[in-house]
Every structure is written in C-alpha cells, then in structure tokens.
C-alpha cells in the first residue's frame, strides 16, 4: 500500500467512526463530566468532596447503597444461574418442551416494563391473585411487593430473556465435536462442563454478567413501583434527592458514584477481553 492510500484510508476510518464518537461525547462523556463538576460544589459554597463523603456518612444513604449492591448481586447470581441452566438445557436436550422454551423465552422482552411491573403487582401484591389463590389452602403469602423480593423478581423477568439469548448463542458456538473428544478421553458430565463448556462460554458469561449488572444497578421503574420506601435503590434515591429535595449537587454526586461502580465492572470486562486478545496473537 502506498503512503497516500494509507492516509486516505486513515481519514476515511476517522470519518466513519466520528458520528458514533460524537454521540458518545455528547450523550455520555459530557454529562458525566458535567455531573462531576456539579457534584464538587459543597453546600457551604466551596469546592470539595463533601457530597461524596455524605454518601457514606449518612445512615440512610449508606443503607441505600448496601441495599442496592445486595439486590444487584442477588439478581445477577439468580439471573445468570437460571439463564445458564436454560441455555445448557436448550443446547443439549431436544424434545417438545425444549421447542416450547425456545419459542417463548424471549416474550418478556416484548412487554413494556411498566406494564410488566403492573402485572407483577397484580399477581404478587397483598391482595393479588396469588395470595387469593393460596388463601384457599390456608397459606398466607409473605410480603413480596414493596419489598426487595418484588424488585428481585422483576429483575429476573427483565433480565433472564436477554441473558439467556446471549448464553444460548455462546452454547451454539461450542461444537459437538469438542465435547465428543472430551467424552472420548474419558471425561464425565461434570468434567465436560467445568473443563470444556464453561471455559468456552466464559467470555459470553462475562458479557451477560456486565449487562445484567449495569441494568440492575441503574434500574428505576421496578424499584420505584415495587420497592420499599426505605431503604431505596440508588436510582429511586437519586430521583428523590433531585426531584423532592431539590439537591442537584447531591444527586450529581450519587450519579457519578453509580457510574464509578459500573466502570469497576467494565474494567474487569475489558481486562479479560484484552487478555484473550493477547493470548490469541
């Protein structure tokens, strides 16, 4: 390739990435930077990290943080366990049941969040269908709605289809032949799972984990409609600080802190991708 041609291609490449880069800049990078600047304004008028200190010093805020992290971790664990099991089942079994699961598991993706949440309230609420049904047998349903259980159940509903879709495609990418050769050298089901299937789908597992984590930690609709009044998830708390208490700076600090939490996971994700690239070249 001649020098001129190389430069032409470089310019063309820049032109082609610039729309997405500009979009990223305007929609993501600038607001984050702006939030950070805003969050540095102290209540007393000076500049400092007081808003961030508040997040840990205030008991209510601390509870919100722990509550959010707990719900996120429990949701991630449950979503990935269920999705992984479903993806495995769909990959290695066949029959009518599998066909049905394959056809229907993505339906929740097509139902708007607010409507699904409303449905959950009707189903699981204090006087909902489930409690009325169980009452016939004399069983009293524990409180699910306006409790962390409600938020977690909603997270399962919202996240399982997408995570399953990702993991299924990873499973489909594992050729039957490498499993055959593993059986041939004497590997049983467990050894095949831990030494062949899991390592070969680990990358996608990490992608799914990242998506679920980000989705849950920043969720608003479900925790707002289904969660308890206190403690709150960060999204709900942010809205309250911003809309009810009208403390723009404090809300910005919380937003930026949430962004940092997500970037921590993003860092692990990118690092593992980079390792993969390095081992390949």
């Amino acid at each position: 390739m001649s020098k001129g041609q190389g430069r032409k291609q470089a310019i063309l490449g820049l032109i082609m990435v610039s729309p997405s880069f500009l979009l990223l800049l305007i929609v993501v990078v600038l607001p984050i930077a702006q939030s950070f600047v805003v969050s540095l304004r102290e209540e007393s008028g000076g500049i400092g990290l007081g808003r961030y200190a508040y997040l840990f010093e205030d008991k209510g805020m601390r509870d919100n943080l722990i509550f959010t992290l707990r719900i996120t971790l429990v949701s991630c664990a449950l979503v990935l366990a269920v999705s992984y099991a479903m993806a495995l089942y769909m990959r290695f079994s066949d029959g009518r049941l599998v066909d049905w699961i394959r056809r229907t598991y993505m339906i929740p993706l097509f139902i708007p969040g607010v409507i699904a949440t409303y449905g959950l309230m009707n189903l699981l609420g204090n006087h909902g269908w489930l409690s009325r049904f169980l009452l016939v047998f004399g069983i009293e349903l524990p409180r699910i709605i306006f409790d962390q259980k409600g938020i977690i159940i909603a997270n399962l509903w919202f996240n399982i289809p997408f995570a399953t879709m990702l993991l299924s495609s990873a499973m489909a990418g594992i050729p039957a032949s490498v499993i055959e050769s593993a059986r041939d050298v004497g590997a049983g089901k467990l050894a095949i799972f831990f030494r062949v299937i899991f390592p070969l789908s680990f990358k996608t597992f990490l992608v799914a984990l990242t998506f679920v984590f980000m989705g849950v930690i920043g969720s608003f609709t479900a925790p707002f409609l289904l969660g308890p009044n206190a403690p709150q998830m960060l999204g709900v708390s942010m809205e309250q600080i911003f809309g009810v208490f009208r403390e723009r700076e404090q809300a910005a600090a919380l937003a930026f802190f949430t962004f940092l939490l997500c970037s921590a996971l993003g860092y692990f994700y990118i690092r593992s991708m980079a390792q993969e690239e390095a081992s390949r070249s």
Partner: protein, 347 residues
C-alpha cells in the same frame, strides 16, 4: 495372535435409510485394519459404533473379549482421532494432552513425563505451551494423535484423520503413523475413502459399499484378486472389457482368457493397466488399436489405446519405454493377467 476387537453382526439404520447391516469384523492384537469405501458407505458408522458415539440397533461389539456395546464413550477402552482434530481451543497443547490423564488421576510428574514422551513420538517436542490455534493443521492432528496415544487405548480409532491435510503432508503422516504403530504395537481401525492411503497403511483392508462389507483381505490380495466388480472398480485402476464364455475360458477379441470362477453368461473382464502389453502392430497378435494419448506421470506413463472393436484400454509403461510411441500410432494390445466378473445389469 489374540483377538482384540470383534464386531458381531452389527446393524445400525438411520431415519434417512442410510446405515450398515450385518457387519462382522475381527481384528487381532497389533493389527491395522482400514475401513475403505465411498462416502455414505457406512464406514464411519461402524467406527463410531466401536467408539460408542452411536448405539447399534442390534449386534455386539467386544474389545479384549468384553462386550462394550452398552458402555458410553467415556467408559470404553477406545480412543478416537477425529477428522477435524477436535482439540480444545482454550487449552494449551500440554493441557489438551494431560486432560485424559488427569481424569485417570495420574500423579503430576508422571503426566508431565508422558506428555513429553508423546510429543516426541509425534515429532512436536517442546510445543507444550502453544494453543491449538497457533499450530498448523498437520501439527494439530499430531497433537490429537498424541492425545489418543497417551491413553494407551485397547483399540485406536482413526476417522479420516489426514483427509484435511495436503497431499504431501498426508503422505508424511501416513509413514509416521505406520512407524508409531510398529513402535507401540497398538491395534488400530482406520477409516478412509482414499484407496491409496488404505493400500499404503493397512495390514488388512475392509472394503465397504452401501452398508455392507464387499471384501476384507490384505492389501495385496485386494489389489490382485478383487472379489467383486465394485472392489475391482474402487481399488486402483482397472480396464474392463466385455467377454463371452467359450468352453472353459472367456473370449475377448482374439484371446481366450481363463475363467477361474466358472462364470456363465455375459462377463466383464478386468485387466490392470500394468498388465497390458503394447506391441508393434506388425507383430500380428493381439487386439489392434490406435494410441489416443500418452501421459507421463513421473516414473511411468499412462497410454490410452482406442481399440478397433470399440472401447479404450489404458496401459502403464515405464517412462523410457514410451519414447518410441506417438499418438495416432497403431499398436497391438495383449494381456498378461486378467480377472473375470459376471456382468450385472446395473453395472
């Protein structure tokens, strides 16, 4: 020689109608048997049944006198080398090789030594740390072979292992495999559709067609005395001439050729190109014909002669013998050896 593998009356039919019927095969210890046939003849079905990846509809498979037909692949004393290598892409060469030994709970030092030995055997020493993706096709297949050899299987199964490699490498791998077999004394069942490969490698060739065995014999025997028309067509090159039974022989043109199998009615007479002699036309004897084409194929030449009575005969001649021959020249053709088959309608 003791019996190492015994396939007894195995039948396996797929929904598509393909499969094998009534396959019986005995392999003695240390023997290398090739299953040879066109694609779809059922050779891989037999191999996969022995390996445990297919469950036969009926029949039994015995390894060292023990029935294995009910066992899954992981419990069978067999090991398979696959056409597509089937290495685990996320494991290094060392991990690929050590996997089976770890499952057998061998001590680490012993595994390390065994892996190094196996890699030396397949001529890939010091490649433990590489990933399969960093190796060429031939090297990957060597690793796959080493992986199977390490497990010291009672029967080593090879499913067209070299068919994805280029011709030169294929030949090298063939020689290496033969050497490994003499060194280790392993019993091997080798599937291929390449008759040259089968002839080069095997102690015994089993020619299969449409799900049954056509002939099972030593390569020499198969080549010299193919027992059916299919085998005669499939193995090596063969000229076919129509003949008529006449007395105790078969008349083809001016010749009366022997009829050893006492065939009646219409016959097809097969003659290997190397058993075709060309003489000057003036000699008078033989079938007259014109030389159509001369192709020099290395140390020998293939000459096609169009016979006066119709039909073409191919002859192999040493490359020096064809110097005096030219296309269009008239020659007389004679045969030193022939074999006759009854003519069947669809052939």
């Amino acid at each position: 020689m003791s019996l190492q593998l015994s396939v007894r009356d195995v039948t396996k039919r797929f929904k598509t109608g393909e499969g094998v019927t009534g396959i019986s095969l005995d392999v003695t210890k240390g023997e290398l048997v090739t299953l040879l046939g066109p694609s779809g003849c059922g050779k891989t079905t037999v191999l996969r049944s022995i390996g445990g990846f297919l469950k036969p509809d009926s029949g039994d498979i015995l390894i060292e006198g023990r029935s294995v037909v009910a066992l899954p692949p992981e419990k069978r004393p067999t090991s398979m080398v696959f056409q597509s290598y089937n290495l685990w892409p996320h494991m290094t060469v060392y991990e690929n090789l050590a996997f089976g030994l770890k499952i057998r709970k061998l001590p680490k030092a012993q595994i390390r030594e065994a892996v190094a030995d196996a890699l030396r055997l397949v001529q890939l020493p010091n490649s433990e740390k590489k990933l399969p993706g960093q190796l060429s096709g031939g090297q990957q297949q060597r690793v796959a072979l080493a992986r199977s050899l390490l497990l010291k299987p009672a029967v080593l199964l090879l499913d067209e292992p070299f068919s994805a490699l280029d011709a030169k490498l294929r030949q090298e791998m063939r020689e290496e495999l033969r050497e490994i077999q003499t060194q280790t004394g392993l019993t091997m069942v080798f599937v291929t559709h390449d008759q040259e490969e089968a002839l080069a490698l095997s102690d015994r060739i089993v020619v299969m067609n449409h799900g049954h065995i056509e002939q099972a014999a030593a390569p020499r025997h198969i080549y010299d005395r193919p027992s059916t028309l299919f085998v005669a067509r499939f193995i090596g090159k063969m000229n076919f001439l129509e003949g008529v039974v006449e007395g105790s022989g078969i008349r083809v043109g001016p010749f009366v050729l022997p009829n050893e199998d006492r065939i009646e009615g219409e016959t097809l007479v097969g003659v290997r190109p190397e058993d075709v002699i060309l003489k000057a036309a003036e000699a008078g004897e033989g079938m007259k014909g014109l030389i159509k084409q001369i192709m020099v194929l290395g140390h020998y030449a293939e000459i096609s002669v169009e016979l006066e009575g119709g039909g073409t005969v191919r002859s192999f001649q040493p490359k020096d013998a064809v110097r005096e021959l030219t296309a269009g020249q008239q020659v007389a053709v004679a045969f030193t050896k022939s074999i006759a088959y009854p003519k069947i309608g669809d052939n």
